[in-house]
């Protein structure tokens, strides 16, 4: 240990390259990551490509392309009604979750009170508690109350499931704003709701919009709760797709899956425009 340490007299690397793995390592790691990223996106691209196939069965590679199955999809009553149900539920759940989640996130960020952390944990816990357990719990509750399979019940289940996304996104947006503006408004006589509506919301409207869209997406794609709370006629699109997939993979199912992806991607692009995906998705 007492031996003198030879300090290598290497040239310092440029400031931007702090990783210190050199160009070769960088290239190797880059190609590995690139390959993995391609594997992540490939299944989605395959699905989109196959949805334009003209064939009567799902066979690869597609020999001819057409919109045939899209026409079929939009002509099928059960798919169309499921699409509509999904849309209604997602819009309602997103609106309600934003309306109740925004004030809750506001207090959780702005105030210190006993039990604050515990309450925040409860609000966020639907992210961690298995959705299937929430689903069966609600099924039992609704059945006991005599209202299983009601649209309202489904909407409220989704509200709880998407609330964590609203609270987190709004919370993140709020932490960058300055409380003195709100206090000034309160000093000038604005009541609590006026402060929220006319001061806070305008300051973080990008964050609020992103939160609402987040909620919309998470409701739109939910299947593990919905599957317990819907029945023939009230299926959402993912649940209907699940039922079809239990039997077989048909071209119409592929089209329905693609439609679901396109809607999600459009919403993601909008969120990215408003708040930036990486900041919205911090875990």
């Amino acid at each position: 240990m007492t031996a003198s340490v030879a300090i290598p007299t290497r040239k310092r690397r440029s400031q931007s390259d702090t990783s210190g793995i050199g160009p070769t390592g960088r290239m190797v790691l880059g190609s590995i990551s690139g390959l993995l990223l391609m594997l992540l996106i490939a299944p989605m691209l395959v699905l989109l490509l196959m949805s334009f196939s003209n064939a009567d069965f799902v066979v690869f590679p597609p020999t001819a392309f057409s919109l045939k199955w899209y026409y079929k999809f939009f002509a099928m009553g059960d798919f169309l009604s499921a699409l509509l149900t999904s849309f209604e539920v997602a819009v309602a759940a997103s609106l309600i979750a934003t309306l109740i989640g925004l004030p809750a996130a506001y207090v959780l960020v702005r105030r210190r009170f006993p039990g604050r952390r515990a309450l925040a944990a409860v609000f966020l816990s639907p992210l961690m508690v298995p959705q299937i357990i929430v689903g069966v719990g609600l099924l039992q509750l609704y059945t006991a109350l005599g209202g299983a399979n009601s649209l309202t019940g489904l909407v409220m289940a989704h509200v709880v499931a998407v609330l964590p996304y609203v609270i987190r996104t709004v919370g993140a947006a709020l932490s960058t704003t300055n409380v003195s503006i709100e206090e000034a408004a309160a000093d000038l006589g604005a009541n609590q709701l006026e402060v929220l509506a006319f001061v806070v919301v305008p300051m973080i409207k990008g964050g609020v919009l992103a939160a609402a869209l987040f909620a919309l997406i998470m409701s739109w794609i939910n299947v593990e709760i919905s599957i317990f709370l819907t029945t023939t006629g009230s299926y959402t699109l993912p649940v209907l797709l699940y039922n079809y997939m239990e039997y077989s993979l048909t071209p119409v199912v592929v089209v329905a899956g693609s439609v679901s992806i396109v809607v999600a991607v459009a919403l993601v692009a909008v969120i990215d425009r408003f708040i930036g995906l990486s900041s919205a998705m911090r875990l």
């Binding site: 992540l40 299944p43 690869f60 207090v107 960020v109 299937i132 932490s175 993979l249 875990l283």
Partner: protein, 297 residues
């Protein structure tokens, strides 16, 4: 500012502090979460022990005493474990590349690709993988056209298919948790190791990897819990034959209508995931889940 001004301002701001963020604003969300989340989840426990108006543990005896359920629990744990390991192994290089090496302008697209699977329904992902792994799927078509195999290789409806689906679904979570730790890591430490003569690989193994361990374990725990409670992916990619805990819960509720038994299985699942979530909380103890208030001066 005179002292009087300052004291007036201070008084006003204490008053205002109580004006903003009144606690009753929490009420609507609290009520909704209590009724539609806490109550139903809590109901699962009594439902599993009450039958015909009396308490009995028959359902638990059935679950814990029957070799079949033990087998299913074991399979769930095993499938989740392997998927978690693969998720971390795949997630780490992506996270490392995204946070440390990629140019800023590419970062955004990398995140978009990582997040894409999270914004599609589990069923859609299963549809895609069914087309890839099926007997007439892409891989088998390629293999047969290349003459590597005569008959299609059975990939769909196997444990491997389930794990593929789980990994595909959960990789984003492992990337995001690992990336959030790597992002806050001081690159100078690695640089210092290099300057002291460490090879890049040594610097990574002895400096970066140990420092990112909390992110790796948090990501692994999260992925494990999510794998364990996933229903749709194992149910569809396992073809209904390979059962996991979640599919037993579904079956008891939706097919055989044995609710006490279903509730008992759900409780076992809840306890196992609860334990995992607790471990996750311990790992992340010092990290704050909600945005901290930086607005207050």
């Amino acid at each position: 500012m005179t002292p009087e001004d300052a004291s007036v301002a201070a008084k006003a701001s204490t008053k205002a502090e109580f004006m903003v963020g009144r606690l009753w604003l929490l009420l609507p969300a609290t009520i909704v979460v209590a009724i539609f989340f806490v109550l139903p989840v809590a109901l699962t426990v009594p439902k599993s022990v009450f039958r015909d108006g009396s308490v009995n543990f028959d359902a638990y005896a059935a679950v814990l005493g029957d070799g079949y359920y033990g087998l299913v629990l074991w399979r769930s744990l095993w499938l989740s474990f392997v998927s978690t390991v693969v998720c971390v192994l795949l997630g780490y290089p992506i996270a490392y590349y995204a946070t440390r090496l990629s140019a800023r302008r590419y970062k955004r697209y990398i995140y978009m690709i990582i997040l894409a699977p999270l914004f599609t329904t589990a069923v859609t992902r299963v549809i895609a993988w069914t087309m890839i792994l099926g007997n007439q799927g892409i891989i088998n078509t390629l293999l047969m056209q290349l003459g590597w195999t005569e008959a299609p290789v059975r990939m769909l409806y196997t444990d491997t298919a389930i794990m593929t689906g789980l990994v595909y679904t959960m990789v984003p979570f492992s990337v995001l948790t690992i990336a959030s730790v790597l992002e806050n890591l001081d690159g100078k430490l690695e640089e210092g190791a290099r300057d002291l003569g460490a090879t890049p690989w040594q610097a990574f193994l002895r400096v970066t990897l140990p420092l990112s361990a909390p992110g790796v374990s948090a990501g692994a725990i999260l992925v494990f819990a999510l794998c364990l409670s996933a229903y749709v992916t194992p149910a569809l990619l396992g073809g209904g034959r390979i059962k996991v805990m979640a599919s037993l819960v579904f079956e008891q509720f939706m097919r055989t209508a044995n609710w006490p038994l279903g509730s008992a299985i759900a409780c076992v699942l809840l306890v196992v995931t609860g334990f995992v979530i607790f471990a996750y909380g311990r790992v992340l103890e010092r990290r704050v889940t909600l945005g901290e208030d930086r607005g207050r001066p």
